[in-house]
Amino acid sequence: MATTSTALAGRPAFRQRGKQAAEALRRAPLIPLAIIVIVVFTATFAPLLTPHSTTQPSLADRLTPPVWQEGGSWENPLGTDALGRDLATRLMYGGRVSMLVAVFTLAIGGGIGTAIGLVSGYFGGRVDAICMRSADSTLAFPIILFAILLVVAVGPNLANVVVAIALVLWARYARVIRGEVLALKERDFIARARVAGCSHLRILLFHLFPNTVNTLLVLLTLQVGWVIIVEASLSFLGAGIPPPTPAWGSMVSDGREYVDTAWWVSAIPGLAIMLTVVAFNLFGDWLRDTLDPKLRQVS
């Protein structure tokens, strides 16, 4: 350490930040992260991981219990359902549906919500009033009803489920991002951008938006769980992904008739939903505390 003190001038702060980052990483939620990795991995590579089909019934094997229970075998480690289909296989493919719906709804709903939030906060006035009133009405309406109505009218499929959930999702993004923008637009750099002759669009896209990315990231992670639960609820009610495509919600529903004889048929998919949602929520909490502690009060 033979450096002069002037050369070190910038270092302590830098070191401090490094320490903070290390500290945040040390407190990273490892178990939730592991669960997320497993779900994403099995969902992505499902066809390579299992020899079974998701839809082909095999009546000889119907309602086989999981491997740890009497009568179970490694052939179907988590048992089979009433049609003899391997539960582990359907679970992995069901994870695919959940992940796909989550990615698309968050991209669409989050995108629209962010755009509305940016415009609403930046321009203010009447535009703001209309946007925020709509957002509040959306949040205070049991939108699952609307999703059901849409799906019954147009027919259940992945695209309709995505549209229905995205129609609900935008409101929260609009609200939070607008709040961010209201604070940001009073700052000097926005005034300077305006003086420098930037167009409104340029200010929105290149000056305001990048400053909301942290918040957006946290909000997106915290809502994955919510989207999974809504999709599962819709599928449970028969207004989601239509059978025979496996979805976690409809798998729980399939098992309802067998609660007295084959507990695993609905218990295991439900556990999968719970673990995945808890994992994403805990991961989101950590991300929020690390990136954006002031969001604590918002969500």
Partner: protein
């Protein structure tokens, strides 16, 4: 104040009109209702006659007007599945849902309020940790699954509680609990943080200096103020409750409106579903209006904004 009420009521009416337009438009997507009414060998003339009889040959705006004026007279058409007027199906179920809803709300208040206060007062203790666990589970457990697992345990394993339908007090326990605790988790979390904020207030310090007993500080001075932010979310909670009721009534075969929603999904019974959505929306919008007005009455800052 009057101006605020008129403005806010106007917004509610606009929201209802927009909603009715969306429902009407979605109804057009379900396919031509004439096909369901006609025998297969019907001629073109009979089809035209029936179309004219039901007013389906009219332009859309006129059809929409008929739809709205019928709705105002509680005439919502005939169920596709049972061929009976929709209101005959809905009427008898209203009370069942209301009873279950009230039981669920009671559970929410019984669990949510004491735990939220306790978690804030005994911050960072065992109670706080327990409350946090309940909140995390409340946000992560799918309600329909909790219901099925309760049936699995209390009905199949222990044979203690009835799994389905209405009846005596015991029929309420599982559905009301499943319905109530979801919102309880949300109420608890919010109450905890608003209690913590309120406990930081200067007037609490003053109350302490005055030597007031702790229970008075907590319940009289802090709790009352901490409740205001919780009440703001009353509309959102109601929405969550209704969503929950559809799932819970389906799981426990409760003969209420939620179960009717489920049946109309299974039978693709659009006339029943659109009526239910319209009615629930009207209730939700009215409650939200009432909450906002009450809120503006309590807090003058709102009505002048």
């Amino acid at each position: 104040m009057q101006r605020y009420i008129v403005m806010r009521a106007g917004q509610s009416i606009i929201a209802l009109i927009i909603l009715s337009m969306i429902i009407f438009a979605l109804g057009r997507f379900t396919g031509d209702p004439i096909i369901l009414l006609l025998p297969q060998e019907a001629s073109q003339e009979t089809e035209d006659a029936i179309r004219a009889h039901y007013g389906l040959d009219q332009p859309w705006p006129i059809q929409y007007w008929k739809f709205i004026s019928n709705a105002a007279r509680f005439e919502f058409g005939v169920s596709i599945k049972s061929k009976r007027p929709v209101m005959d199906l809905i009427g008898p179920k209203v009370m069942n849902s209301l009873r279950l809803g009230l039981a669920g709300m009671a559970i929410t208040l019984i669990i949510g309020i004491p735990l939220g206060v306790l978690a804030a007062v005994k911050r960072d203790t065992f109670f706080d940790g327990g409350a946090k666990l309940i909140a995390i589970l409340g946000q992560s457990l799918p309600q329909f699954w909790v219901g099925i697992m309760l049936i699995q345990f209390f009905t199949v394993q222990l044979d203690l509680l009835p799994a389905a339908g209405t009846g005596g007090f015991t029929h309420y326990i599982m559905p009301a609990f499943t319905l109530g605790w979801w919102v309880a988790a949300a109420v608890m979390r919010l109450l905890r943080s608003s209690m913590l904020d309120a406990l930081d207030g200067e007037y609490i310090k003053m109350a302490r200096i005055k030597g007031l007993p702790e229970y008075k500080i907590v319940w009289k001075h802090t709790f009352k103020n901490a409740l205001i932010p919780v009440l703001t979310f009353a509309g959102t909670y109601l929405a969550t409750f209704i969503t929950g009721a559809i799932l819970v009534e389906t799981v426990f075969a409760w003969p209420g409106l939620g179960r009717l929603v489920y049946d109309s999904i299974i039978w693709r019974d659009f006339p029943v579903l659109q009526t239910l959505v319209m009615m629930i929306a009207a209730v939700v919008i009215t409650v939200n209006l009432a909450v906002d007005i009450a809120y503006a009455y309590i807090d003058p800052r709102i009505r002048y904004n």
